[in-house]
């Protein structure tokens, strides 16, 4: 069993930091396990979501923010729907992702690459251009053939030119302003 040294491995104000960032009272969690029981992603997580909640309470900041679970959570809201303490658990996971992103902790590189490909397309056109996202993702991730097998099938659904909006410079400014803040 893994040993946690409370004196050196924990940070007492981490729970307060997460509560501050998300508006959720994480201290209320009493480990009933309902969130983990319903979570469709538990089998893919390194730490089940209820364990993440406990690790927040015990101040294990490093371990929580470096966990793969943060990035593999799809915000499906099952945990938030079923929490008897009315904690919006998915929002906690989202808040943790925000902190991890600011601190450049990218434990799931492909997911980060996908998100950034998406936001780049958004910045370029004001709307999403699906073909560009997948092309950029394949180049940046190095997985050049991702979904190449879908090519012939998806042809009839894809659009081959972006829908550019007039206010795309304004949308780009939102994304850029946010990036500059970091």
């Amino acid at each position: 069993m893994e040993t946690v040294r409370l004196a050196s491995d924990t940070l007492n104000d981490f729970a307060a930091e997460v509560s501050q960032a998300t508006g959720q009272d994480v201290v209320r969690c009493y480990q009933c396990g309902n969130c983990t029981a319903g979570c469709p992603y538990t089998e893919f997580f390194d730490y089940p979501v209820s364990q993440i909640m406990r690790m927040i309470q015990t101040g294990q900041r490093e371990k929580v923010l470096n966990s793969k679970a943060l990035w593999l959570c799809a915000t499906c809201e099952t945990c938030s729907t079923r929490c008897p303490c009315e904690i919006d658990v998915a929002d906690v996971m989202d808040g943790l992702r925000n902190i991890a992103y600011r601190e450049k902790r990218f434990t799931e590189k492909d997911i980060r690459t996908f998100y950034e490909s998406f936001l780049t397309s958004l910045k370029n056109h004001g709307r999403i251009f699906e073909l560009e996202i997948i092309a950029r993702y394949n180049l940046k991730s190095g997985h050049l053939l991702t979904d190449a097998d879908l090519g012939p099938k998806v042809m009839k659904q894809l659009h081959f030119t972006p829908k550019r909006i007039k206010g795309r410079d304004k949308v780009a400014r939102i994304v850029k302003k946010f990036m500059e803040k970091k």
């Binding site: 809201e77 989202d94 992702r97 925000n98 699906e130 979904d147 879908l150 829908k163 939102i174």
Partner: protein, 331 residues
């Protein structure tokens, strides 16, 4: 008076791979007398990547569109896409309760969003504002071979405090709309289980496993098609079905239709008018037997049972509507 005019936000998916959803929604809304106005120069809601990265960024990208609608003198934005819906609802909820968040968001916008305009899914508009009676009145065609599993996905009715629509664990709106059109609806246990959402590209194996579970349950419940309200669910279940079969050794051949396409067929539209030719798993064999309503009078007990279902659905919906109204009043 119940609203019949909305700002219609299609969202990026519906301009791209999910154009059949857009086309079928526009068709049936016209039939149902719902007037839609498109917000000028709308932009992407930000979706999953924005809220994963930063809540203020997500809030600003969503609020830019809500601010445009605020200037249209339309009280409600409607969107068929659950992901856009969730982005708008989350942005509004946070702006109404957190003054410093509101200020941060509005600093990023040319025109501020004050939090008056709210968002509603187009499914909710049809189910609650238009209502089952009006839908039944438009049915011209019966579809005797469809056995539908209604799959709502994660976020259309969840989390309940935010979504404020239908039941979070056992949503029924699509089931009742279809039943009202005389279509057989199967009991389906995975109505809100996640299909893998936006991870199809970066985490394909995960999505294939989750999607496989959903398709498996569809087959087990005796359905021969899946009916959805989300472009991402549609894509994972339909476009990736062959990938699922290859990876998991299954042999599913289940068409995946938007609820608006099923309603459109019942209203007499052709499959091409509803964009069904764009889908990967063909629904042709299940809709070949469709025929004008009224010609089924002499038909089988199964069909009269379907009609009874429709009547029961309408009754239950009225009760449900009253229940929701009383809950809304309380809160």
């Amino acid at each position: 008076m119940i609203e019949r005019e909305y700002a219609y936000y299609a969202g990026c998916s519906l301009e791209g791979t999910a154009s059949s959803y857009d086309r079928s929604i526009r068709a049936i809304l016209k039939d149902l007398g719902v007037v839609i106005k498109e917000p000028v120069d709308w932009s992407c809601c930000g979706s999953t990547p924005a809220h994963a990265m930063d809540h203020v960024l997500a809030g600003a990208l969503a609020a830019r569109n809500l601010a445009i609608v605020e200037r249209m003198e339309t009280a409600t934005l409607t969107t068929p896409c659950p992901s856009c819906l969730s982005a708008f609802k989350k942005a509004r909820a946070k702006i109404l309760t957190d003054k410093s968040f509101k200020d941060e968001v509005n600093q990023l916008l040319d025109d501020p969003y004050e939090g008056t305009v709210k968002a509603k899914s187009t499914l909710q508009v049809i189910y609650e504002d238009v209502g089952l009676d009006a839908v039944v009145a438009k049915v011209t065609t019966i579809l005797p071979d469809l056995k539908a599993a209604c799959y709502y996905g994660c976020i259309l009715s969840r989390p309940p405090r935010l979504a404020a629509f239908d039941d979070p664990e056992n949503p029924v709106s699509m089931d009742r709309l279809l039943a009202a059109c005389g279509i057989e609806v199967r009991d389906f246990a995975f109505k809100t289980e996640c299909c893998g959402a936006a991870f199809g590209v970066p985490k394909r194996e995960m999505v294939l496993r989750l999607t496989h579970k959903v398709l498996n349950m569809v087959q087990d419940c005796g359905a021969n098609c899946v009916v959805v309200a989300c472009p991402l669910c549609q894509q994972n279940l339909d476009l990736r079905q062959a990938q699922v079969n290859r990876a998991m050794g299954s042999s599913f051949s289940l068409p995946v239709l938007y609820f608006s396409q099923v309603l459109g067929l019942a209203f007499g539209y052709s499959p091409v008018e509803l964009g069904l030719d764009k889908h990967i798993v063909s629904v042709d064999r299940l809709i070949r037997s469709r025929s004008p309503k009224g010609t089924e009078e002499t038909a089988s007990p199964a069909k009269s049972a379907a009609r009874k279902n429709a009547a029961r659905g309408a009754e239950e919906t009225n009760r449900e509507r009253e229940r929701i109204a009383s809950v809304v009043k309380e809160t």
